[in-house]
């Protein structure tokens, strides 16, 4: 399968907030109830369709635990999008957002699109951080915001896809400097901004399955279920 663009994503946030579960739900549509602490980085990938363009998301699921923090910093480079995740049932994970954001801003391109995610929205009875607080934080720092549940899959597709839409919008506005090296056999232009162009001859203009319908939804946190 070919693609028009490849976007690198990085998922960051405190340990246990559900980063790996979000990825697993997005790539495999399943939930993992056991916390398998991530060490280093695990990769996932999925095609999505934005505006009739096939886009490959290459997702770096990083370790949230403090002992891995300096290693995680080295993975930001070249990310076009970041999912910054906290757990709505643990306030400390929300309190740490500023420091995650600092890392992200310091180690990645200023154009990187950041999606703030309040995860575990299925645990409403244990909620410790109001949705409005998440919204306010996002507004203040210029982030997109959604609440998700990796368990019920609520808003998980939307979180990944809306981030891609925003990156794509920036490309179209010329904010990302993306240009293809036509005729090279290597067919990739390695970009510092986390976006690669697929081989010219292979750019698919056909509309792919599943993701396309979803991608027409409104951006934002009001998609119903959460």
């Amino acid at each position: 399968m070919t693609y028009a663009y490849l976007f690198k994503y990085i998922i960051i946030g405190d340990t246990g907030v559900g980063k790996s579960c979000l990825l697993l739900q997005f790539t495999d549509k399943r939930f993992q109830p056991v916390h398998d602490l991530t060490i280093g980085v695990e990769f996932g990938a999925r095609m999505v369709n934005i505006d009739g363009k096939q886009i490959k998301l290459q997702i770096w699921d990083t370790a949230g635990q403090e002992s891995f923090r300096s290693i995680t910093r080295s993975y930001y480079r070249g990310a076009a999008g970041a999912l910054l995740v906290y757990d709505i049932t643990r306030r400390e994970t929300f309190n740490h957002l500023t420091s995650w954001l600092e890392d992200a801003r310091q180690h990645s391109s200023s154009n990187m699109v950041i999606m703030l995610i309040g995860n575990k929205s299925d645990l409403e009875s244990r909620r410790d951080v109001k949705r409005e607080e998440g919204e306010a934080f996002a507004r203040e720092h210029g982030l997109i915001f959604m609440e998700t549940s990796a368990k019920t899959a609520c808003n998980v597709e939307e979180a990944f896809i809306n981030t891609a839409k925003e990156i794509y919008r920036k490309i179209q506005q010329g904010l990302f400097d993306v240009h293809n090296e036509v005729g090279t056999t290597a067919s990739f232009l390695l970009q510092a901004n986390g976006i690669k162009i697929g081989p010219q001859q292979c750019i698919s203009t056909s509309v792919g399955p599943s993701a396309s319908q979803r991608s027409s939804r409104d951006m934002g946190s009001d998609s119903g279920c959460c």
Binding site: L24, D28, D36, I39, F43, Q58, S70, I71, G78, A192
Partner: protein
């Protein structure tokens, strides 16, 4: 052997990285003395810029259960994130995507949080154990005539890693869930794995090794990603062996 284009550096990109990080990408990679393997070629194909120039020592394995039943193909490699390092500091795991057999990278793990053991020498089996408790078994897949030698290289590497990193075992705290085995091996133990109660995690718990169904949503480019002929700058073919820096003979015995 030439490279198409230089990856551009991100302005103000990652400056520092701890051991196991990867900011210090070698500009001229140390030369592994073997033909680039599948994983190396996969990384050279360009989807992972940051890993493009990592010289890798790698082998093909099958994941087996503790009792030796074969599960799936895995390519495991080690690499040094900086040419200044004497020993590799990263472990890479990859495997074929189910739908097309193209290699996909599962993860990148700082070796300071991973332990390698000889599980069953007679069957060329290693045990890979994460400090978080996850463990799995890999059996070398190689031609009968090179199998012993290749396995021997892994054994030497595992000794070198262990003896050179006695102080490298970074304190590791489990904040969120309980460590599965606190009766962690001593640093000076025999590198042939001790029998232990916890054993290897069942395959379905190994999220990192092929997730059922994952391949369905994954694709790779027909040409650069899967092309076995991708050439490789800085790698020379002087016959099989560990990357030079890591292959000095080790005084420790290679097996029990």
């Amino acid at each position: 052997m030439k490279r198409g284009h230089e990856p551009k550096q991100a302005p103000g990109g990652a400056g520092e990285a701890g051991p196991g990080g990867m900011a210090e990408r070698p500009l001229v990679p140390a030369c592994p003395t073997r033909r680039p393997g599948r994983l190396q070629r996969h990384l050279l194909s360009g989807e992972f810029d940051q890993l493009r120039d990592l010289p890798i020592f790698e082998s093909n394995f099958v994941q087996v259960t503790r009792l030796g039943e074969v599960a799936n193909k895995v390519t495991m490699g080690v690499a040094a994130s900086s040419p200044a390092l004497e020993l590799p500091d990263l472990l890479l795991l990859a495997g074929p995507a189910k739908e097309n057999g193209c290699l996909q990278l599962f993860g990148l793990f700082p070796l300071q949080f991973v332990q390698l053991f000889v599980h069953d020498e007679s069957r060329w089996q290693l045990k890979v154990k994460f400090r978080t408790g996850r463990a799995f078994y890999l059996q070398l897949r190689a031609a009968p005539e090179t199998r012993n030698r290749e396995f021997g290289q892994w054994v030497r590497l595992l000794y070198r890693l262990r003896f050179h990193s006695a102080q490298g075992a970074v304190p590791f705290t489990q904040e969120y869930s309980a460590l599965e085995d606190d009766e962690e091996e001593d640093e000076d133990e025999d590198l042939t794995e001790q029998e232990e109660v916890s054993g290897g995690a069942p395959l379905e718990n190994l999220r990192l090794l092929p997730r059922p169904g994952q391949a369905l949503s994954l694709c790779c480019l027909p040409s650069p990603t899967c092309h076995p002929e991708t050439s490789c700058r800085g790698l020379n073919a002087e016959g099989p062996g560990l990357p030079r820096l890591w292959s000095q003979p080790c005084s420790a015995p290679a097996s029990r």
